[in-house]
């Protein structure tokens, strides 16, 4: 109970991944979808860092991967926000139900 193991971190990251994934599916505002993507990315980072801390402390590859994931997801959020701003300038709406041009 009082010993925090790798299993605790994995369960926590699993729960957060599921919450973020459900948020991506059910949110209709695109900004909220982006926030949920960031939660998913943070859960993945937590997984990597927990594995590194408990398993592979010699090479720290999980922490380096987490750094890369942080940088790339921050960049993709910036691009997403720019795209949202451009869509809003042209269409004046940013809910995924109202933007229908990207339907496949």
């Amino acid at each position: 109970m009082f010993e925090i193991t790798l299993y605790h971190y994995l369960v926590l990251s699993l729960i957060l991944f599921a919450i973020g994934f459900i948020g991506i599916i059910i949110s209709k505002n695109i900004i909220k979808v982006l926030i949920c993507i960031e939660i998913v990315m943070s859960a993945i980072n937590l997984n990597f860092i927990a594995f590194t801390a408990y398993k592979n402390y010699l090479f720290l590859s999980g922490m380096i991967f987490a750094l890369f994931i942080t940088a790339i997801s921050a960049v993709q959020t910036a691009i997403g926000l720019v795209l949202i701003y451009q869509i809003y300038k042209n269409k004046e709406k940013i809910t995924s139900e109202e933007i229908e041009e990207l339907k496949g």
Binding site: L6, I15, V75
Partner: protein, 178 residues
């Protein structure tokens, strides 16, 4: 000491889970940005807890501060602070999807726990945790980043430059005339 660590871990985990659920289900977007800020800062605290000092600082400064400011500016620019119009109806599809996700995740966990992977993955390395202190960790992380992972680090820098140019191009894009 171990009990205190466990209590802190459980408190932080509860805050993260509560605030990440609140991100989804609050109606005002600005409030969900605030809850996202709380979530990302608690993630950083968990990273500190795992002796990943550098990752924790990066998490708090990039996700917790920079990205949340970006989200808030985007909300203000798009004038989108009104309540979200959709109502989440708990239709059978959503409930089934939620149950499906929970069942898949729990079955993966049970599988891991019941098979040999549990012993090899979870139990073997627990005693080897927390060998280094946080400062040693930061030093080692920087040396690993600039020696064994130098090419990927440089590639990441190139990627960031390309994205910067792309964002500038997107911002100068005029779009179709109204």
């Amino acid at each position: 000491m171990e009990q205190l660590n466990a209590i802190i871990f459980y408190i932080i985990s509860a805050i993260i889970i509560f605030s990440s659920i609140a991100v989804i289900f609050t109606k005002k977007i600005m409030k969900s940005v605030f809850f996202a800020l709380v979530t990302f800062i608690c993630f950083g605290l968990l990273f500190f807890f795992l002796n990943a000092l550098f990752n924790g600082v990066i998490q708090i400064s990039i996700y917790g501060i920079a990205l949340c400011i970006l989200f808030a500016i985007a909300v203000m620019l798009t004038n989108n602070n009104e309540e979200e119009t959709h109502k989440i109806k708990f239709s059978p599809t959503i409930i089934l999807a939620f149950l499906g996700v929970i069942m898949i995740l729990s079955s993966i966990l049970i599988f891991l726990k019941e098979t040999m992977m549990y012993d090899s993955v979870f139990k073997t390395y627990i005693n080897s945790s927390h060998i280094l202190t946080s400062l040693d960790n930061t030093k080692q992380l920087s040396s690993e980043l600039l020696t064994h992972n130098l090419y990927s680090f440089e590639l990441l820098g190139l990627y960031l430059l390309i994205v910067l140019i792309g964002i500038l191009v997107l911002l100068t894009f005029k779009g179709e005339s109204k």
